[in-house]
């Protein structure tokens, strides 16, 4: 049995395991878990252990969801759950906050920080910044020019129409003035950041990816 001493609220091992499994599987599937959605795991009678649970939940307790003490109880349960997750050796839970302040969780073993960051940006619909951050990162890190089709794949999931619209907006926004197009000889389009790659270098890398790598298998 896991517990927190401050609130004296107990989280059963069974519930903790269920929550861990849920976070893991959701992360494996490429999604973040909204913290508030975990309340479903904390509802009676699932929440209570056999020892502590009343034979039948009092009617007042099950119907008085808006009572302040009930709200406090739920918060205490959530606090206890998060503390139990933090203390667990079975999972390393990481947290991100979206633009609206909601917290999201993921399992570090199943999802990388890089991927979680992309998913969060998609959730926030910060597409222009996401595209720019991705292109700059790839131009600097690998280095490589970024094939524009990347943004139609998971986890970006933009439609071609959305992507073209975004790229059009980007071209008129000075914030993204360092982002440039380059094209391989087969017509495939790539983006790169002038902060990290010269136009010539970017073009040569695009040509390698789209054409020459296939000729040098």
């Amino acid at each position: 049995m896991s517990e927190t001493t401050e609130t004296n609220v107990l989280i059963s091992d069974e519930i903790l395991e269920d929550v861990i499994d849920h976070i893991r599987q959701t992360s494996k599937d490429g999604q973040l878990v909204e913290k508030s959605s975990l309340t479903v795991f904390l509802e009676e009678p699932k929440m209570a252990t056999e020892e502590e649970a009343p034979e039948e939940a009092p009617e007042a307790e099950t119907s008085a969801e808006d009572e302040p003490e009930d709200q406090e109880h739920r918060e205490a349960l959530m606090t206890a759950l998060m503390a139990a997750l933090e203390a667990s050796d079975a999972i390393e839970v990481k947290t991100l906050t979206d633009d609206a302040g909601a917290e999201f969780l993921y399992s570090a073993a199943e999802m990388t920080d890089q991927y979680a960051s992309i998913v969060m940006s998609v959730n926030n619909k910060n597409y222009l910044k996401l595209i720019a951050d991705t292109v700059r990162y790839e131009s600097q890190k690998y280095p490589r020019a970024t094939h524009i089709s990347l943004f139609t794949k998971k986890p970006y999931n933009l439609t071609e129409g959305q992507l073209l619209g975004l790229l059009s907006s980007m071209s008129t926004d000075s914030t993204y003035a360092d982002l440039k197009y380059t094209e391989a000889s087969n017509g495939e389009k790539f983006l790169f950041s002038e902060r990290h790659l010269t136009a010539r270098h970017a073009k040569s890398l695009a040509e390698w990816e789209a054409v020459l790598s296939e000729e040098n298998p």
């Binding site: 990388t112 990347l150 010539r200």
Partner: protein
């Protein structure tokens, strides 16, 4: 020599007098196995000056101590013999996967030496200790598919059959030996044909004895599969962003993902996400069908196949009913250049024939069917470039008799119809007319048809050539791969360099800063300076010379153990918690587990270097060269003259600088213990590796530096 790993026996078959005998493997222990045994036998038994098609030439089919012992990616057959494709008929190796090597070990042999020449076509039937020569009259003149089927019906369906097609029979230089009807060894098919040997069938019912316990074997395998192995070419990141992966790279062969199917399987099978560490899904990681053939291939993919004892399934098995329109089976199986080679023959491009997008897949799968059945080799795709130069420069019109020229369906070629390939490969394999000289290989056809300097050196702007050496072999992960490293090692063999040690890292998909840390961790290199960012090269340095040497030595080691250098070494890892650093000592760990010997990583590399020193000495003697730098290691001009508007070492070009490359070669010679001017092994170096007899021979020929 222990009784573990090695079987202890080498089968010697003399086709001239139809005799069979057994040699003891132990005398080759210093040469490990596979390629090492092959070179040593060539050095001891084949006189300098022998030509590839002389009966005195030998073919050595050899495996190493790790093959057949259940070690991942270990069913490689190394075939050694003089090669007909280069002007001096220098010694070379061809390699095939499949299950031939493991079956040879199970039958009780580390190697098979084929010598002499049969008086009429035969095939060799090996059933454990029973070895017989059978008449091949019933299969001579037929393709590899039929030959394999007929011989399997006699030798048993379990037998592994290594056969040649009509190309090999006709001593087409560009021909293959193939087992499993898709695992081909390019370059020695004609030599087998010159001996009137149509096929070798082996059925073995034994096993390879191992010194270690089953538990130790299981633990080491588990460690490797969980922590070290990636996808094909040991690419260690997926091709698409995936939750588990910090990095991704579109050109990675780790193509498995959600919603990707083996679409022609019944029912279709989803590859799904195959995360690092999940050893039960490694077989799904590499969907090579879509990688080699494009997205349309998904619906035609039955499954991915591969070699004995290999978790990486890199051969796509395709069912495409449209193929029947060309008079061939609807099934095809191959990988990589087995597909892209025939596609390169379609020099005017390909157009869709039956559905949108099939221009990408049809010439590749149809071409693979034709080449696999006829047994034609593409010289790492160079046959297409040889053809392209002759066609585009009007040479064919000049050298072919008019009726022959007019009989070729140029309309199909111009229309992008892959039906052209049916005609093309028939002429090559059956040696029909002047056109079939394309099957002689680059050096010979260029000489016969008087190709211009621009063929070798590229056009004035440096473009238009893929040939690496004037000895006739093309680039194969050369200057575009780690600059001077790829360039140096491309000069060191007597055919296209089949070395993947370096490209498996540069193509791993990892960012350059991670790759630098990985390579710096290799004991034999120890410096991040060994590697440059792609197309952003720096001048030659000692670390690059060490990287080139280690790449070659490991390649040779793998071909001797025998392991697949298309996967090994495990330089990088897919695991972030290992900082993506692999384990280059794991060959030694497996070696010790299997043989009970006590090798260090360094000792194995030393043994491999002995083998490569012998290769260099054999090459020097066969060429009669007093200056290998000039006679053998020369590089075609386009490598230095491409991108004429910029200097070498400018970001955005992978051109090299002549003076710098000369320095790079000198540094490499120094690492190898060769004369720094001539590139010939010194007496001291040969002595160091126990090659005193070779030193004496070279000295007597006046070739020793």
């Amino acid at each position: 020599m222990s009784n573990y790993g090695w079987t202890g026996k080498i089968l010697r078959v003399n086709l001239s007098n139809e005799s069979v005998s057994i040699d003891d493997t132990s005398k080759y222990k210093e040469y490990i196995g596979g390629m090492g045994i092959g070179y040593k036998i060539m050095a001891d038994e084949v006189p300098v000056g022998t030509k590839a098609y002389d009966p005195e030439n030998k073919l050595v089919f050899a495996a190493g101590p790790l093959t057949g012992a259940g070690i991942p990616m270990s069913s490689r057959t190394n075939i050694t013999g003089l090669s007909p494709t280069n002007p001096s008929n220098l010694v070379a190796d061809s390699h095939m996967g499949g299950n031939f090597a493991a079956m040879m070990k199970f039958a009780g042999y580390d190697a098979i030496i084929v010598e002499g020449k049969a008086s009429s076509p035969v095939w060799l039937n090996i059933q454990d200790d029973e070895v017989t020569l059978e008449s091949a009259n019933n299969v001579w003149g037929t393709g590899i598919y039929n030959t394999t089927a007929v011989i399997n019906s006699i030798a048993g369906k379990e037998a592994s059959v290594a056969a040649i097609g009509q190309a090999g029979e006709n001593m087409v230089n560009l021909s293959v030996i193939m087992n499993g009807t898709s695992h081909s060894a390019g370059g020695h098919g004609g030599v087998m044909g010159s001996k009137n040997l149509k096929a070798i069938a082996i059925k073995g019912t034994g096993s390879v004895e191992m010194a270690g316990t089953g538990k130790e074997w299981e633990e080491l395998n588990k460690y490797m599969l969980e922590e070290l192995v990636g996808a094909n070419n040991n690419h260690v990141v997926p091709s698409t962003p995936q939750p588990w992966a910090e990095y991704h790279n579109e050109r990675s062969r780790w193509t498995a993902r959600e919603d990707l199917y083996w679409g022609a399987a019944e029912p279709p099978i989803e590859t799904g996400i195959c995360a690092a560490g999940d050893i039960n899904r490694i077989g799904y990681r590499t969907d090579k069908a879509i990688f080699d053939l494009g997205p349309l291939a998904e619906k035609y993919t039955v499954r991915m196949g591969g070699c004995q004892s290999c978790p990486i399934r890199c051969h796509s098995q395709i069912k495409m009913p449209q193929l029947k329109e060309y008079g061939v089976s609807e099934y095809a199986e191959n990988t990589c250049v087995g597909y892209s080679g025939p596609n390169g023959v379609m020099i005017k491009g390909s157009k869709d024939q039956f559905e949108e997008g099939d221009a990408r897949i049809l010439p590749r799968v149809l071409g693979s069917q034709l080449t696999d059945d006829y047994g034609v080799w593409c010289n790492y795709g160079m046959i297409g470039d040889d053809f392209k130069y002759a066609y585009n420069n009007g040479i064919l019109k000049e050298v072919l008799p008019a009726d022959e020229y007019n009989s070729i369906p140029w309309d199909l070629l111009e229309a992008g119809d892959p039906a052209f390939l049916v005609d093309f490969y028939r002429r090559i394999a059956l040696k029909e007319g002047e056109f079939s000289k394309l099957g002689m290989g680059t050096y010979w056809v260029a000489k016969e048809w008087n190709y211009g300097d621009d063929f070798w050196d590229g056009a004035e702007d440096g473009t238009g050539s893929k040939i690496w050496s004037r000895l006739g072999f093309p680039r194969h992960h050369s200057s575009e791969t780690a600059g001077q490293v790829g360039a140096t090692l491309n000069c060191m063999f007597n055919r296209d360099a089949q070395c993947h040690t370096h490209v498996n890292l540069t193509g791993s998909g990892l960012p350059i800063e991670v790759q630098k840390k990985v390579i710096a961790d290799v004991y034999a290199i120890g410096s991040e300076d060994a590697l440059d960012a792609p197309n952003d090269y720096t001048p030659a340095n000692e670390a690059k010379a060490k990287f080139a040497k280690w790449s070659i030595i490991r390649n040779v080691l793998h071909d001797s153990l025998t392991l697949c250098n298309w996967m090994w070494p495990m330089t990088a890892s897919p695991l972030k918690e290992r900082n993506y650093i692999g384990d280059t000592a794991i060959e030694a760990k497996f070696m010790n587990l299997v043989t009970g010997e006590d090798y260090t990583e360094e000792e194995l590399d030393f043994a491999a270097e002995r083998i490569f020193q012998l290769h260099r000495a054999l090459t020097t003697m066969q060429m009669g060269s007093k200056n290998m730098r000039e006679d053998h290691d020369d590089i075609c001009g386009w490598v230095f003259d491409k991108d004429p508007d910029v200097e070498a070492f400018t970001a955005g070009t992978n051109k090299l600088d002549r003076d710098d490359m000369k320095l790079a070669m000198t540094m490499f010679y120094k690492e190898m213990g060769w004369d720094e001017e001539t590139g010939i092994p010194t007496q001291a170096t040969l002595d160091k590796f126990g090659l005193n007899d070779i030193a004496d021979k070279m000295s007597s020929m006046g070739l020793l530096a």
